[in-house]
């Protein structure tokens, strides 16, 4: 397998959890197509919060999405320089579908297969279009992950903080369920919070008293549940106050951990990725905190916040042009710690 193209054309598949996504990228900056089977629309229609998790669903959707993606990009499979797929972390049966499909396609066109880490995709998503990844502090904050990392350039990541229980996005979604809001919960709470008072209820801010960069959002969820049990009937303005106060507690913790990380590891750039990076209050508070210190903040484009294949394709372009090679026997993994490009170096946590 040769890596001849300077502006490689790569098709990437993402099936790490609920979303089935395919994208075609050329070089560092040209998105030729991006197709996503969005669960959120289905959930809105049914009012449910339960996704179709099934690998069977991925299997049913994937061939159509790949075809659609190639058609939109107006290319033939033989024109591709490589085929990429997310191999972890995620749900193994779901990952297997995307990986097997990508390997099969790559073999059929005699081009390399590139195995991509889902978290690396999120980390690089704020830099889509750029050919160099600067040293920076990264916060990956989504439904499944809450991680603080030092990024020392492409493919060199150091985990310095992570959640000990729930991810921040999960806290939003579970809170929305407790409050009886529709799916997706995070954006609903963000929307309702705009007319509420963030200081109305003093929800707990976990893990702020220790010196670690770890997170914990489970206690906050418990506190909300107890509050709702004590105050079962809420007016629209009270609901807005609850949403604003709950959101403030999460944002407060995220902002303070970022601030602490910057004190420990001085950087001049912070990048925030994942679905929770869409939260307007988080963006507002981060700007207030970092702008006076002359620290820049970078976010992914709106189409690359939640799980998508654009970020997987972009990571694949970087891998291809860095001459990274994935073996045909590459296998899926469910835990981030299995990837050697992620080292873990957590500051001491006195509480454990």
């Amino acid at each position: 397998m040769t890596y001849t193209s300077e502006k490689p054309l790569i098709l990437a598949i993402e099936t790490s959890c609920d979303e089935t996504a395919v994208a075609v990228f050329q070089g560092f900056s040209t998105i030729l197509s991006s197709c996503l089977f969005s669960q959120a629309e289905i959930h809105k229609n049914t009012g449910g919060v339960v996704p179709e998790i099934a690998s069977r669903e991925h299997l049913l959707r994937l061939p159509k999405l790949v075809q659609q993606s190639l058609t939109q990009a107006a290319i033939q499979p033989s024109q591709l320089d490589a085929v990429a797929a997310t191999i972890g972390p995620g749900l193994a049966p779901a990952l297997l579908v995307g990986m097997a499909f990508a390997k099969g396609l790559a073999i059929s066109i005699r081009k390399p297969f590139l195995a991509i880490n889902h978290i690396e995709g999120h980390i690089l998503s704020p830099f889509i279009g750029q050919n160099a990844i600067p040293t920076h502090l990264a916060l990956v904050v989504s439904g499944g992950h809450t991680l603080l990392l030092l990024v020392h350039g492409f493919h060199n990541y150091q985990i310095i903080g992570k959640t000990l229980d729930d991810a921040a996005g999960e806290a939003f979604d579970k809170a929305a369920k407790i409050l009886g809001l529709s799916y997706p919960g995070g954006s609903q709470i963000n929307h309702l919070a705009k007319s509420g008072n963030p200081n109305a209820i003093n929800f707990p801010r976990s893990m702020l008293s220790d010196n670690s960069l770890n997170f914990s959002f489970s206690g906050l969820k418990t506190a909300l549940r107890r509050y709702i049990e004590k105050n079962p009937s809420t007016s629209p303005s009270q609901l807005a106050d609850i949403c604003a106060s709950f959101q403030e507690a999460i944002v407060d913790v995220l902002v303070k951990k970022i601030t602490r990380a910057i004190q420990l590891y001085p950087v001049n750039l912070v990048a925030i990725s994942g679905g929770v990076a869409a939260n307007s209050r988080l963006r507002e508070r981060i700007s207030q905190e970092l702008a006076p210190r002359n620290i820049s903040i970078q976010y992914p484009p709106p189409n690359s916040l939640t799980d998508n294949a654009i970020m997987i394709a972009f990571t694949a372009i970087h891998k291809y042009l860095s001459r990274f090679h994935s073996n045909w026997n590459e296998d899926v993994f469910s835990r981030l710690q299995s990837d050697p490009s992620f080292s873990e170096n957590l500051p001491p946590n006195p509480s454990t």
Partner: protein, 159 residues
């Protein structure tokens, strides 16, 4: 091994803090002689994930335990057995459990399932259940019982 590490079927234990819950689970798990399958039940925020963290620690795992609500399955290594930490919270149909490769985990590993009581019929016979009941913000009542799997309706038996 301390006598109070053991947990009898039907026995209720009390915990006054998150740390105590973790210690209780850890000392219990340290007594295990063979892999167990346990449904971990309790309302949102009861401390189910913390209980699993305790079991993992008791089995000698140094992996960090977090909520698998989104990913549905987390796996941890321990010197004795692999640990599968599942969460049925987001699942709506029993059929979805099989798509997590649930049956593959059962024979050789510790299987800990948050919200497992949602689909009791997927569990093998003699599966256990820990019911966590919040008494107040910090105190929890924890009861060990067999997971009740009443006989499924005939329609399910035929399928």
């Amino acid at each position: 091994m301390e006598a109070n590490s053991f947990w009898l079927l039907g026995q209720t234990k009390f915990s006054s803090s998150e740390n105590e819950t973790i210690n209780l689970a850890a000392s219990w798990a340290a007594t295990w002689q063979s892999p167990l399958t346990i449904a971990i039940s309790g309302p949102l925020g009861a401390g189910k994930t913390r209980f699993v963290a305790g079991i993992a620690r008791g089995l000698g795992s140094s992996d960090s335990v977090s909520s698998p609500s989104f990913a549905l399955v987390h796996t941890y290594q321990s010197p004795k057995w692999p640990i599968y930490h599942l969460d049925f919270y987001r699942l709506s149909f029993q059929d979805e459990v099989w798509q997590l490769a649930f049956e593959d985990y059962l024979s050789h590993a510790i299987v800990l399932v948050e919200w497992g009581e949602k689909f009791p019929h997927v569990f093998p016979p003699s599966s256990l259940q820990i019911q966590i009941t919040p008494i107040n913000p910090s105190h929890r009542q924890l009861t060990l019982q067999t997971l009740s799997t009443s006989i499924p309706p005939p329609s399910q038996l035929l399928l």
